[in-house]
């Protein structure tokens, strides 16, 4: 297998369960320091693909490698990937640090210092001494992230990592994942139904449906900001389209409410609008291009 420089580089991955094709020729790559999001409806094949990449399932066809380990039926080796599964499970009768020590003991690469460090990083150091059976869903999720990153794997495969997290937890999770990718150079593959989260954290998004890759793009890849404006005077809409940096305008819902695409940053746009004499009632960054693409491609509400 030729090394491509990618952490994950798989081609034509197929997985058949009886008569059902869970994966039907998926191509995917993940580079070092890259955060890739997998989105798609339930049953699209996201989790199956993640299981194949993490080595718990053996695909029925396809080629390529994960961290230099070939995929394909009959493979013997499983790559060392930081895995976070949808429903985090640990030894319920032990506390969080003991569970991490137990798992870290398999590879024997890290000590208690590193375990304390990751517990603090995921915000669990204070509550970690309780038995896992008494953990909330959010605490389990944080512990699961801790075990995934503690041995500094080159690749993280995370299935619904923000499940059960409160808003603070989601923000922290986002920062941790970006940190792993940027600072450590770790490749991250995330599956989530929270499109805004995927858009916020991912460098590239892969849309999967019925076991196939339907689309692949970079959120904000054009470099253009999408913004919703509410004007104090609906008659000033024509002034907006004439402003510097405004590429397109589209009236939505009611008169005076516009979605615009701009080639300049939001603060600069505000200055341009004020200079043009536009009286702005409210301004919002648009909910997300990903949601639009998802609706368009999948053909149903996200």
């Amino acid at each position: 297998m030729a090394e491509t420089g990618l952490l994950v580089d798989v081609r034509d991955v197929r997985m058949v369960f009886g008569k059902k094709r869970a994966l039907d020729g998926v191509n995917l790559s993940v580079g070092s320091g890259e955060v890739v999001g997998l989105v798609g409806p339930n049953g699209a094949g996201k989790s199956t693909l993640m299981r194949v990449l993490s080595g718990t399932s053996q695909c029925t066809g396809g080629s390529g490698h994960v961290l230099g380990t070939s995929i394909g039926s009959g493979r013997r080796r499983v790559p060392f990937v930081g895995v976070m599964i949808e429903r985090p499970t640990f030894v319920e009768t032990l506390d969080g640090p003991s569970n991490l020590r137990l798992l870290a003991g398999i590879r024997g690469e890290i000590g208690d210092d590193r375990i304390d460090e990751v517990l603090e990083l995921v915000g669990l150091s204070a509550a970690a001494k309780a038995r896992v059976r008494n953990y909330s869903q959010g605490m389990r999720q944080r512990l699961s992230l801790a075990q995934a990153i503690m041995e500094r794997p080159r690749l993280l495969v995370l299935d619904e990592p923000t499940n059960g997290l409160d808003p603070d937890g989601i923000i922290e999770m986002r920062a941790i994942l970006r940190g792993q990718a940027r600072a450590v150079g770790c490749g991250v593959l995330i599956s989530s139904h929270l499109l805004a989260e995927v858009e916020a954290v991912c460098d590239r998004v892969v849309l999967i449906e019925r076991g196939r890759v339907r689309d692949e793009f970079r959120p904000g890849g054009t470099g253009h900001a999408r913004i919703r404006l509410e004007l104090a005077d609906a008659r000033q809409a024509h002034l907006v389209s004439a402003c510097d940096g405004v590429l397109s305008t589209q009236e939505v819902a009611q008169p005076g409410q516009l979605t615009i695409e701009a080639s300049i940053a939001v603060p600069d746009l505000v200055i341009a609008l004020v200079n043009a004499g536009v009286r702005v009632e409210a301004i919002f960054r648009h909910a997300g291009r990903l949601e639009d693409v998802y609706r368009q491609k999948v053909g149903r509400d996200a």
């Binding site: 499983v78 060392f80 895995v83 429903r87 499970t89 640990f90 009768t93 798992l103 398999i106 075990q147």
Partner: protein
């Protein structure tokens, strides 16, 4: 070495299982029932019983060993793989250990350790019950075991020969049952690779023991005895002075073959099925 550390992980996980409480309770019940039997045998034969007799009576009663201790052991030792698969914990271990075969070997080693600990618990509870009931431990051969079975109405005891060391007999019985439990436990664990339900192995073992006992009890098929689990499981079937007794070597070989079949079958299944 990764596989060694994986074995330690499995042993530590099994050690903290709260199900050991069930094993302890089951062994206590088995020992208590066996003590009653020994008391009756001692009264019938007018020969005093020793503390070892209680353990050997426990170990040689199919209902106590096969229907209580064996499923209780399976609940602790064989439930882990099936539970790991349904919970996803095996994903966390597999990616660290790197090979499915390592996961399997670690599980089997932990299971053997569990079988040994179960025998220790069974022996310890038997001795506790015996001492509580007033029997005393002794190195000398059990007087009760030397009484003809026709007089005690029981075939509970190990090959009893004058000069046998009782402690050695107890240790031999423990070793033999460790092998037997490990062998059938591995086979049940292999089945759970294909059908991952943590309650399947204990239910399967209980079903096999009862079915086996029914065939032996009502069919009187001499040939079946050679492959019967219950016929090989109990030490009392190896009493050389009894007609149709089996040799120790044949039973050791029987369980060794079952062990190998289970280990190879489980490894084969684990390499082919998703975890």
């Amino acid at each position: 070495m990764t596989i060694g550390r994986m074995m330690l992980l499995e042993l530590r996980r099994m050690a903290v299982s709260p199900r050991w409480g069930i094993v302890g309770a089951v062994c206590l019940i088995a020992a208590w029932l066996a003590e009653s039997s020994v008391r009756v045998a001692a009264i019938n034969s007018h020969v005093p019983a020793g503390a070892e007799d209680v353990y050997l009576a426990t170990a040689n009663n199919l209902m106590l060993v096969g229907c209580l201790a064996l499923p209780a052991f399976a609940l602790v030792a064989t439930g882990s793989l099936a539970a790991d698969r349904s919970s996803g914990f095996v994903t966390l271990t597999l990616c660290r250990v790197g090979r499915r075969s390592c996961v399997w070997i670690a599980k089997v080693v932990a299971l053997i350790g569990g079988a040994f600990i179960t025998q220790l618990v069974l022996a310890a509870t038997s001795y506790m019950v015996a001492i509580y009931a007033g029997y005393t431990p002794s190195y000398s051969p059990s007087a009760l075991a030397l009484v003809p079975i026709s007089e005690t109405s029981m075939s509970l005891f190990a090959p009893a020969l004058p000069g046998d060391d009782q402690t050695l007999r107890v240790l031999a019985a423990m070793g033999f049952l460790t092998l037997a439990f490990s062998a059938v436990g591995t086979l049940a664990l292999a089945v759970s690779v294909r059908w991952p339900n943590e309650f399947l192995p204990p239910a399967l073992l209980l079903g096999v023991v009862v079915f086996d006992w029914l065939i032996v009890r009502f069919s009187h098929l001499g040939v079946f005895d050679r492959i019967s689990l219950s016929a090989h499981l109990l030490e009392s079937t190896h009493i050389s002075t009894l007609p149709d007794s089996m040799s120790w070597a044949s039973s050791v070989a029987y369980f060794a073959v079952v062990m190998i079949l289970g280990a190879v079958g489980g490894w084969w299944l684990l390499e082919r099925y998703d975890v």
